[in-house]
């Protein structure tokens, strides 16, 4: 023994903890990837690597053998449209609530956006189904877009106010001195400053919309369903479809990676959003 380096118990504990957490996170992912890489119908044998590895599941999914593309396109269209619409309404509201934040009424309204976020989607889907069937909006992209706005709007108002709180008041005062009206100050002075916060909020709102299942499963049809509903169609004959399902899950992770990639920079701020 050349040098005895004392290993503190804390360090050992930390490594052990890290190992446990890593196994918990990665083991199921290993199975997911293993299933995606083995031919359909074969079963894995525990942790043993699969006998033969193939990209057939991926090529079949990407070639459209399982109709993945329409679902992904629907997802993108619906997510972008609902989120943008929600932001258009949420942004001025959050700005106003920031200005009015020590007024009792406005403060109540702000807190109610948290309560509105807690409205059960199932309580909304019920009337939407009846209303949409009477107005021929069932199974339409437009209907789905409308029905998804309530998921994103209260959340966006709630989160975005903080970013407007952080805009220095001097900036707005200066704009006022220069003769800009309230609306003009908001559009050309405040919005550019608050843009990163709006973008961050938008991405997380998009995420909420993108992963929705209950609204789309109820109101969309086979031609208008989004990716989260689409993957559940692999359930029926799962022995032969488990490979393609796993491959499709991996493909579906790509939009999520994009969204999280963008939001990563803002995670700090989002974590503090709502803290005030």
């Amino acid at each position: 023994m050349s040098r005895t380096r004392r290993i503190r118990p804390g360090t050992v504990g930390r490594w052990a903890l890290l190992a446990v957490v890593l196994v918990w996170v990665l083991l199921p992912l290993y199975f997911l990837v293993a299933v995606a890489l083995t031919p359909g119908g074969t079963t894995l044998r525990g942790l043993n690597p699969p006998d033969s590895v193939t990209l057939r599941n991926f090529s079949a999914v990407l070639n459209g053998a399982y109709e993945i593309w329409p679902a992904l396109v629907n997802s993108v269209v619906v997510t972008v449209a609902s989120t943008v619409l929600a932001l258009v309404f949420a942004t001025p509201a959050a700005y106003a609530l920031s200005h009015l934040r020590h007024r009792r009424l406005a403060r109540g309204l702000y807190l109610s956006s948290f309560v509105l976020r807690g409205v059960p989607p199932v309580a909304l889907v019920l009337p939407y189904y009846v209303i949409f069937s009477k107005t021929n909006l069932l199974n339409t992209v437009g209907g789905v877009i409308i029905a998804l706005i309530p998921l994103a709007l209260p959340y966006s108002i709630w989160t975005m106010r903080v970013f407007f709180d952080a805009v220095p008041p001097q900036v707005e005062e200066a704009a006022g001195v220069d003769g800009a009206g309230t609306l003009r100050t908001f559009v050309s002075v405040v919005l550019p400053i608050a843009r990163p916060g709006i973008a961050a909020t938008g991405i997380l709102a998009a995420l909420l919309v993108f992963v929705d299942y209950i609204v789309v499963a109820t109101l969309a049809g086979p031609a208008t369903m989004t990716f989260p509903v689409y993957v559940t169609s692999f359930q029926q004959d799962y022995l032969s479809l488990v490979g393609p399902l796993a491959a499709a899950s991996v493909v579906g992770a790509l939009p999520m990676i994009l969204m999280f990639g963008f939001s990563q920079r803002y995670m700090l701020r989002l974590a503090s959003a709502g803290v005030h």
């Binding site: 309404f89 007024r103 309560v115 309580a123 019920l126 009337p127 209950i214 022995l239 503090s272």
Partner: protein, 326 residues
């Protein structure tokens, strides 16, 4: 302009001061006199949309809940509060069970998400930034799989034969029944799936909040020679309180409304043992076509959910006014 600058007062100590950091409180009085009412106009579009897309539909749910609206039998008649009487007095025991089950689900999921997410965040916090970046990516991987995809994958590959990988990894295969078919185990199998799939969300927010802490405060406590757990208890957790509270209350609301995992993995079965409130209501309305009764259940759920949200908001304000966070 409306008085700005109150943020500072309300921001927790130890948090990096935001751009408004310089106290503008001094000229608040002058500005309060200024007409800030014009900003109410900015609230109009959102209010109209919320009224049209949330309040009116909920009103329609209430309207439906007063009717015997049974699509299977083609019935549609006004019956007053009979549906509510059936829930409250007639005792829909399955609904009460689903309510209690939902509360259990919320407590278990939030607790374990917090323990796991906080552990991951604290592990990351001690690492060098470059290493931390890699581990942050690894820890968030499960969230990249869409929830319903995770649900189908766990159902088909992890829990059910012939694959049942999760049971094999624990050497439980053959010893216990496939858990999703067992009324005693199914809910727990779903909970494990949910924690795996969606806890990274809690981790990301907690980790973000931890990075937001002022490291110099922590370093000062290290100089004092405090042990790790002392520091955790006396310094880190108190400073993290606002972030923890916000993250967990959002998580609790989401869990309370949870639908996709149960619906995709078991549809509430076996023998109704995994029904959460959302799935129970959904089944009543869309599977049994008891639309009126389902609507009444949905209204009850809405009331409970609103009470919980309002409760947490009030609690939040009270701790704030007590000065615990400011």
């Amino acid at each position: 302009m409306a008085g700005r600058g109150t943020t500072v007062v309300q921001e927790a100590p130890g948090f990096r001061a935001s751009t408004t950091a310089v106290a503008h409180g001094a000229d608040r009085g002058r500005r309060a006199a200024a007409p800030d009412r014009k900003y109410y106009w900015f609230l109009v579009p959102a209010t109209v949309v919320i009224a049209l897309l949330i309040v009116v539909p909920l009103g329609y749910t209430f309207y439906l809940s007063l009717r015997h609206y049974d699509l299977a039998r083609g019935l549609d008649e006004y019956i007053g509060l009979a549906n509510y009487r059936k829930i409250l007095i007639g005792g829909d025991i399955e609904f009460v069970k689903s309510l209690l089950r939902t509360l259990l689900y919320v407590v278990v999921v939030v607790t374990f998400d917090f323990i796991l997410g906080m552990t991951q965040a604290l592990l990351l916090f001690e690492m060098r930034p470059r290493v931390a970046k890699v581990f942050r990516m690894i820890f968030m991987l499960p969230i990249l799989i869409i929830p319903t995809a995770s649900a189908v994958f766990w159902r088909t590959t992890m829990w059910a034969p012939p694959n049942e990988q999760f049971l094999r990894a624990l050497h439980l295969d053959g010893l216990i029944d496939p858990p999703l078919g067992n009324p005693d185990l199914a809910l727990w199998a779903i909970i494990i799936t949910v924690i795996w799939a969606w806890s990274p969300w809690v981790f990301l927010l907690l980790s973000g909040g931890l990075d937001y802490l002022d490291r110099s405060v922590l370093e000062a406590s290290m100089v004092d020679g405090a042990s790790y757990f002392q520091r955790l208890r006396k310094v880190i957790l108190p400073l993290m309180r606002p972030v923890i509270f916000v993250t967990l209350s959002f998580k609790a609301v989401d869990s309370f409304l949870s639908f996709p995992f149960v619906w995709v993995m078991t549809q509430g079965g076996p023998q109704g043992s995994t029904h959460l409130m959302s799935t129970y209501i959904y089944e009543q309305a869309f599977k049994f076509l008891n639309y009126g009764f389902g609507s009444a259940l949905a209204i009850v759920m809405l009331l409970i959910s609103s009470l919980l949200s309002i409760g947490s908001v009030l609690y939040w304000q009270r701790t704030q006014n007590k000065g615990a966070w400011s």
